[in-house]
């Protein structure tokens, strides 16, 4: 069953995430990030950052919450067992640090077919408490074999 193209442009519930030290440390440990700026507030402050830095791919945490909303949207008609993560983009405006309060309103940026597969692009502009965009995340999920052609 092809995806519902009319959901292109649909926005989802705003996600808010306070960047907590414990979560950042756990994330850094899981990816093997040993750079002290990502492990310790003092090391980051010594270079002029406000606090311990979150690794550049930390916005994944928000993206996973965003994707969960999109994937579970009954109108979309996505079969999650057919989905793989095809592509990923980040545009970084500044490093994220412990204490940041981040908000993102995910939206379906695109839905298109190529060959037998369909592609679903989920985009989120992640802003800080001042409303400044700190990162734009764009995930392309690939839905295997659903392009149909009836």
């Amino acid at each position: 069953m092809p995806l519902n193209q009319s959901l292109k442009g649909k926005t989802f519930e705003t996600i808010e995430l306070t960047v907590e030290r414990e979560r950042v440390t756990r994330f850094a440990e899981a990816i093997g990030e040993e750079d002290p700026r990502f492990r310790d507030g003092d090391a980051a402050r010594a270079e002029g950052h406000p606090d311990q830095l979150a690794p550049p791919t930390f916005p994944t945490v928000i993206q996973i919450l965003a994707s969960a909303q999109v994937v579970l949207d009954q109108e979309l008609g996505l079969d999650y067992t057919r989905v793989v993560h095809g592509e990923q983009e980040f545009e970084w405006r500044r490093p994220i640090a412990v204490g940041d309060v981040l908000r993102a309103t995910p939206r379906i940026a695109d839905i298109y077919a190529r060959g037998p597969n369909e592609f679903l692009v989920i985009e989120g502009e992640i802003a800080d408490a001042d409303g400044e965009v700190v990162c734009i995340s764009r995930a392309t999920l690939l839905s295997r074999g659903t392009a149909g052609g009836s």
Binding site: R26, A30, I31, D35, R37, P55, P56, H85, G86, E87
Partner: protein, 144 residues
């Protein structure tokens, strides 16, 4: 650590990093918990086999995180990172060695921006497989 690399020290065509990492089951489990991606494909061998894999696979984002760490370590300054775009092209199994690699694709004299080609390889059955390919990053380097 500030910006470790100067714009003028970088040449188009240079292979600037090649960083291996052994993908361990406990790290992939830790990544599931830290990222919130609890898809059983990354944790449950029986589930992975039921959908046609020999065992669990690493999250694409786990592999990408290794690539970005290698990129960031080369650049030195996390604030120098501008953007990245990657394509996941092959799965990665436990205990495989993922090698994150980067090569300078172009330089912009005006802006100080440098574009890199990125990819990540695994060796499997005597073949080199690109788990991540056709990928690019943009960084901004200081002149010196």
């Amino acid at each position: 650590m500030g910006a470790a690399v100067a714009f003028d020290a970088v040449n188009v065509g240079d292979e600037v990093f090649s960083v291996p990492k052994v993908v361990k089951r406990e790290d992939v489990k830790a990544y599931a918990d830290a990222s919130g991606d609890q898809n059983p494909l990354h944790q449950d061998d029986d589930f992975a086999r039921s959908v046609g894999f020999p065992g669990i696979i690493a999250h694409g984002m786990f592999s990408m995180a290794h690539l970005v760490t290698a990129l960031k370590d080369w650049v030195g300054d996390p604030a120098a990172l501008r953007s990245i775009s990657v394509q996941f092209r092959a799965v990665v199994y436990m205990d495989e060695t993922l090698v994150a690699r980067g090569r300078v694709a172009s330089k912009d004299e005006g802006s100080g921006e440098v574009t890199l080609d990125l990819w990540a390889d695994v060796e499997r059955d005597g073949e080199t497989i690109k788990a991540i390919k056709n990928s690019r990053a943009l960084v901004r380097l200081d002149r010196k």
